[in-house]
């Protein structure tokens, strides 16, 4: 009925996205991390400002650190004054975070991407329910809203607790040969399979 990508084209594209994201941003792809930064934008905003101030005033920051070190440990604690400044500079540059607004843009552009695809393929339809099947499973109206609200809560809480979701643990974590990610992926996939099979059983 739907004209979705076949498995190998979809797989190659998913892998390609994970690789390109890593190369362009220098970070591993992970959507729940973006969620955390957007949900706590106030704190992130303060962090971004501090980092920005630090990078703009690197000589001042370095001198302040140098002065504090000398006051605490004396002149002998500083081996070569010239090297110290450059070391501090590089560490400040490395720790500079991605601003939270970039994460917000990342999430909002996913919505736009979904919209573009739906318009382009003729799937766009403004409607309240997810699908007829989902409606049948949860019941209509407020029941469905309640299921989605509690389910969404578990998605939000669970991904933060596990430290990743299907992109952070599933795609980039597994591809980084991270044991905890492979475990997490196996667990959330099998839980979802178990719940869905149970739903199917109860529907019959």
């Amino acid at each position: 009925m739907h004209d979705y990508l076949n498995w190998w084209m979809g797989g190659l594209a998913l892998g390609g996205l994970t690789i390109i994201f890593r190369l362009l941003t220098g970070r591993t792809l992970g959507v729940s991390g973006s969620w955390r930064k957007v949900a706590f934008w106030r704190q992130e905003h303060a962090l971004d400002k501090t980092a920005m101030a630090l990078t703009q005033n690197q000589p001042a920051a370095a001198n302040a650190l140098l002065a504090a070190t000398m006051a605490e440990f004396g002149q002998s604690a500083i081996p070569g004054n010239t090297n110290t400044t450059t070391n501090i500079q590089t560490s400040v540059e490395k720790s500079h975070p991605i601003p939270w607004t970039a994460h917000l843009l990342f999430l909002v552009c996913m919505l736009v991407g979904g919209f573009i695809w739906a318009i382009y393929t003729g799937h766009f339809q403004l409607r309240f329910e997810l699908s007829a099947l989902h409606n049948h499973i949860t019941g209509a109206g407020w029941k469905m809203g309640l299921v989605l609200l509690t389910g969404g809560f578990m998605v939000g809480f669970g991904t933060q607790m596990a430290g990743g979701c299907s992109s952070g643990h599933g795609l980039s974590g597994c591809a980084n040969f991270s044991w905890s990610s492979m475990l997490a992926t196996a667990i959330f996939f099998s839980t979802a399979v178990g719940v869905s099979l149970l739903i199917k059983l109860l529907m019959q």
Partner: protein
Amino acid sequence: MKNNLSIHLIYGLMGLIMGILLSAIGFADYDEMFNMFTFTDTRMFYAFALGVMVAALAFSLFHITGLLKFEPKLFHPGTIPGSILFGYGWAVCGACPSVVFIQLGQGKLAAVMTLLGIYAGVRTYKTLHARYFGWDSGSCGI
């Protein structure tokens, strides 16, 4: 350091591509998700597995050539219970943290409820973590 504008452009472009790609594979379609989880149609399982394998191959090459390092995630007491909660939520909402936006973009307004739920979940977890759990979650790498 990359400048601010280029970081925003890159993240925006990546979001756009991801939105289109996940839609085109079918990850934002509840029926397709349900068919995957009940093994009625294993197409998306294979797509996901192939995606991981392709990325793993590339990351291995990067690692060997010294271009980039592996970045493994930390195992901590929250990994297992968190994954179970996420698995349940994924099955009943058909949405992971990215797909909820894509569903909204496709015009499925019910995803607003999922969105509110995820927001509440993220906020609640951080508060509980700071007050009660407090284990090292490698917070830089989430």
